[in-house]
């Protein structure tokens, strides 16, 4: 590592430690920011000599990154940005903090994927999905797919692990030269993780025609773009690998969505030569991811936190939550997106029959939505009020990004 990079890396680590000591966050952003000021190529320097995997997509990237890091851990030490700091400053901090490791698995914000591919020269990139998320400031999803596609076309040697169920991802993973999906490019491995959300992919990104669906298959009515056959799939509480072998996956994380994330993690790890047989037990050791799924005892209630930040992840959260009193909390601050329109893209009917409480900056938006949805609810001002309003036992909490952070902070104050 050049001297400048060494200094920058050391400053980055020190700043992160200072930031933590001062109680100002976990330091995973400020340290990287300072380091990059001193050496703009620091991320590239820190990446050199490591075998790197990048994980990107709208949903599931934090959890998939955590599971993939556990799986690659079979081979040796793995650097990873486990606090969900998924922009270049976060990657820089994570690599600096980890010191020299043979492997790194990094979660990447979808807007930064092109830039981070350039900087880190990854061995493999996992593309999970593209759906609407914070549209008031994010690029349109089709444009995002185009950016990914351009970036990947510039790096034909990068191995790709991609979601066969998402037309935008399939298109992005396929170089422009091989429109015909019958010919899978040599470096793409397809997985199918059981995607539920389809509303963003009715129009073909290649030709603008309608995309038809039947069962799990989909195809464009105007060009050869169609669902490739996935090599990794989920089946009956387990994952099937490309040889057809089935592995039972016993997770501590809830829901079918995390079984799907496990399939992706195993497919990614296989690109480094990790056998599913060796990796599966490590997936079961993962208990929570950046506070998500964590269970906390509070006044005789077992509180479980689920993060849901866009329509696709709300559907997953309903699947994960048990039949128990449920608190929904909605904010619309900058990190959440300022627009709450997406609430009408979520069907809250699965919550009927439970005690439902609502809170957060934008609880009234949610109130109007639940009213139209025929879901009775009770509005509470604070998290504490919610805990008091439910009987002892389980309380499921589903919140979007800053609302989730607020509740985590609230729980940390006492526990």
């Amino acid at each position: 590592m050049p001297l400048r990079a060494k200094v920058a890396s050391s400053v980055s680590r020190t700043a992160a430690a200072l930031s933590r000591a001062a109680g100002r966050g976990d330091g995973s952003v400020i340290g990287g920011w300072l380091g990059l000021k001193i050496d703009p190529d620091l991320l590239a320097h820190l990446s050199a000599g490591r075998a790197i995997a990048l994980v990107s997509g709208t949903n599931g990237k934090t959890t998939t990154t955590r599971l993939a890091a556990a799986a690659v851990g079979v081979l040796g030490r793995v650097a990873t940005n486990s606090f969900g700091a998924n922009m270049p400053t976060g990657h820089t901090s994570a690599l600096a903090k980890a010191g020299s490791t043979p492997y790194a698995v990094l979660e990447v914000d979808e807007h930064y994927l092109a830039q981070v591919i350039e900087a880190t020269d990854p061995h493999v990139v996992a593309l999970l999905n593209l759906s609407r998320d914070q549209l008031d400031r994010a690029k349109e999803v089709a444009m995002m797919a185009q950016l990914w596609r351009t970036a990947l076309a510039r790096h034909p040697d990068v191995r790709i692990v991609a979601n066969a169920d998402d037309p935008l991802v399939v298109w992005a993973a396929t170089p422009p030269a091989s429109h015909d999906q019958q010919i899978t490019p040599p470096h793409v491995t397809w997985f199918s993780a059981g995607q539920r959300w389809h509303d963003d992919s009715w129009v073909c990104p290649e030709c603008g025609s309608t995309i038809q669906r039947s069962g799990e298959q989909w195809w464009c009515t105007g060009c050869p773009l169609r669902r490739p056959d996935p090599q990794w799939t989920v089946d009956d509480e387990g994952v099937v690998d490309p040889t057809g072998a089935w592995y039972k996956v016993k997770l501590q994380l809830p829901g079918k969505v995390n079984l799907g994330n496990s399939a992706t993690a195993l497919a990614l790890a296989a690109e480094f030569g990790v056998r599913p047989f060796d990796a599966v037990p490590r997936l079961g050791d993962v208990t929570s991811v950046a506070g998500r799924y964590a269970q906390v005892e509070r006044d005789g209630r077992t509180v479980r936190l689920l993060l849901a930040k866009n329509p696709a992840s709300w559907l997953e959260a309903f699947d994960m939550a048990e039949q128990a009193p449920t608190l929904l909390s909605i904010n619309a601050r900058d990190p959440d997106g300022l627009d709450t329109s997406w609430l009408f893209d979520v069907d809250f009917a699965p919550l009927r029959g439970r005690q439902v409480l609502i809170t957060g900056d934008r609880a009234y938006d949610l109130a109007v939505r639940l009213d139209v949805n025929d879901v009775p609810f009770q509005h509470v001002r604070t998290f504490d009020d919610a805990v008091r309003a439910v009987p002892p036992g389980r309380l499921e909490v589903i919140a979007n990004y800053t609302a989730f952070q607020d509740i985590r902070a609230e729980l940390d104050r006492v526990n």
């Binding site: 309608t210 709450t340 009234y364």
Partner: protein, 239 residues
């Protein structure tokens, strides 16, 4: 209303549904049903023929490609034009509002609109993103409009339409006026579930569709609180 049943069509949800547009259909249907109307809602996909006899047609927002495709399909189908000629109500939001005009821009190209409203849209210098508020045309007798806008377009009204509102916050058509209406056709940049924040506007569409001069009031406690909160946020941002 031609029959006992109020028929609501949501036009091309496969193309034009980017921002919670389903909400407008759900809200209209529920408010009609609470007044004792029988309601039939129909989601018509872009590969299906457009029915010509529904009472209310809803067109939602969409990205550039789907917007252009939607306009092309609706022009080729002709069903919506026949419905309008027979007096149906049309409510267009964002891209769906632009579609109702004579022309609009998508992906840098000018496209022909449905020519149902005398207005045309082009690209503005900046993207309009944020709270949108305005005082609605007094002839419509509605409380102020509140919504959220997210569009890159600017819309120029011709003499054949009236602005829906005078802008008090946000951009709308051009920073001065917002939306447009003529007869029983109405469009707005208040995107997505615009009717969630404007139940009185939902009732206006229902009155147009049913011919009722008045509709029994409903419990709008939560919508009223939401409106007050948003109006407060707009006022606070201005102070």
């Amino acid at each position: 209303m031609s029959t006992e049943t109020l028929r609501i069509v949501w036009i091309y949800p496969d193309l034009l549904s980017t921002y919670g547009d389903r909400g407008n259909m759900l809200i209209l249907a529920r408010r009609a049903w609470q007044r004792g109307f029988r309601v039939e809602v129909l989601e018509v996909r872009s590969d299906q023929q457009m029915p010509t006899t529904a009472d209310i047609y809803l067109i939602g927002g969409g990205e550039d490609g789907p917007q252009a495709l939607g306009a092309q399909r609706l022009l080729a189908d002709g069903g919506l034009h026949r419905a309008v000629a027979q007096g149906s109500v049309v409510f267009g939001v964002c891209a769906g509002y632009q579609l109702l005009g004579t022309s609009f821009f998508a992906k840098g190209t000018q496209y022909r609109g449905l020519e149902l409203l005398d207005l045309s849209s082009d690209r503005g210098p900046t993207r309009a993103v944020g709270e949108l508020a305005g005082d609605i045309d007094a002839r419509l007798g509605l409380p102020p409009l509140t919504g959220f806008e997210n569009h890159g377009g600017r819309t120029h009204l011709g003499p054949g339409v009236s602005p829906l509102a005078r802008v008090t916050a946000g951009i709308g058509n051009d920073g001065a006026t917002e939306g447009a209406w003529r007869g029983k056709l109405l469009g707005t940049y208040s995107h997505g579930p615009a009717l969630a924040r404007n139940p009185a506007l939902a009732d206006l569409l229902l009155r147009w569709a049913t011919g009722a001069h008045q509709l029994p009031p409903l419990d709008d406690t939560w919508a009223d609180r939401l409106r007050a909160e948003r109006q407060g946020a707009v006022a606070a941002a201005r102070a």
